[in-house]
Amino acid sequence: MADEQEKNLVEILQENHPIDINKYTNYVHSPQCGAIATFFGNTRDTFDGKTVVELRYEAYVPMAIRCLNTICSSARSLWNLNAIAVAHRLGPVSVGETSVFVAVSSVHRVDALDACKFVIDEIKASVPIWKKEVYSNGEVWKENMEFIERIPELGKNGCCRPKVKVEDQEVAGHVKHGCCRPKVKVEDDGSVESCKDNA
């Protein structure tokens, strides 16, 4: 499905624009789809025992949008998806609020669930967005482990393309099959950090 037009909605929201969850879930909703998987990344109230007041985000916006679109294309080449929506906030985000939201729809749940995890993991590893964690007694720029691990590749490949191994890649770029199973395996997205900084 979605052979001609890929249904992706990618948005970086300027300061003081909370994420309208309904807008993105409605966007991916479709009568053909039995599943919508979502991920909310929220601001936690503590980090390493320190009280977090808020997070402040900034981005290299045009590049972040390019990277997000690349991630959507990669997800589509790995799973059979209907629509993908990604929103990331900029500026201050208070404790308990959502800073990043991902919604993915598919005919069957496996595709949406796996792709949703892939998208947030890739955002952590390669999209140029930064957050400063503001505590009651100081502040610090956070660093995603997923990015640090990917530095050698990013400096070599010259693109946002995530490291995925594609079996059976007879069609360059997009592998679309009408079945509900991913045709390919993701080699490198496995290790979820047990203690991610904020999501």
């Binding site: 967005i129 930064w130 720029w141």
Partner: protein, 103 residues
């Protein structure tokens, strides 16, 4: 520390301004890179044939605070991640990407 080495490499071309075409690129500094350098963007004049990595060395020489990012950062050229060996062209946009932390 890498800067002194690379400066030597650049010298094998004639130093006279007119001999080598000079180009101008725009450099962007984000997050910790901006805090360390004290600027969010600047113009950088280099000779044609300069690589992204050599630009970074020049920047570190100008803005020594950036040195501590060397090794944990990546460069982006015209909104795409790039290798340090990529050549910069006139009016290119080079971005210093310190460790990202989206999500």
């Amino acid at each position: 520390m890498g800067s002194s080495l690379k400066e030597e490499v650049i010298k094998d071309t004639p130093q006279t301004e007119s001999e080598k075409e000079s180009i101008e690129i725009k450099v962007l500094f984000f997050a910790r890179a901006r805090d360390l350098s004290g600027v969010s963007d600047m113009k950088l004049e280099v000779s044609s044939g300069t690589t992204a990595g050599e630009c970074l060395d020049k920047l570190i020489a100008k803005l020594p605070g950036l040195k501590e990012l060397r090794g944990c950062m990546v460069l982006a050229l015209n909104e795409e991640y790039t290798s340090e060996s990529a050549l910069v062209k006139n009016r290119d946009e080079l971005a210093i990407i310190p460790p990202i932390s989206g999500g």
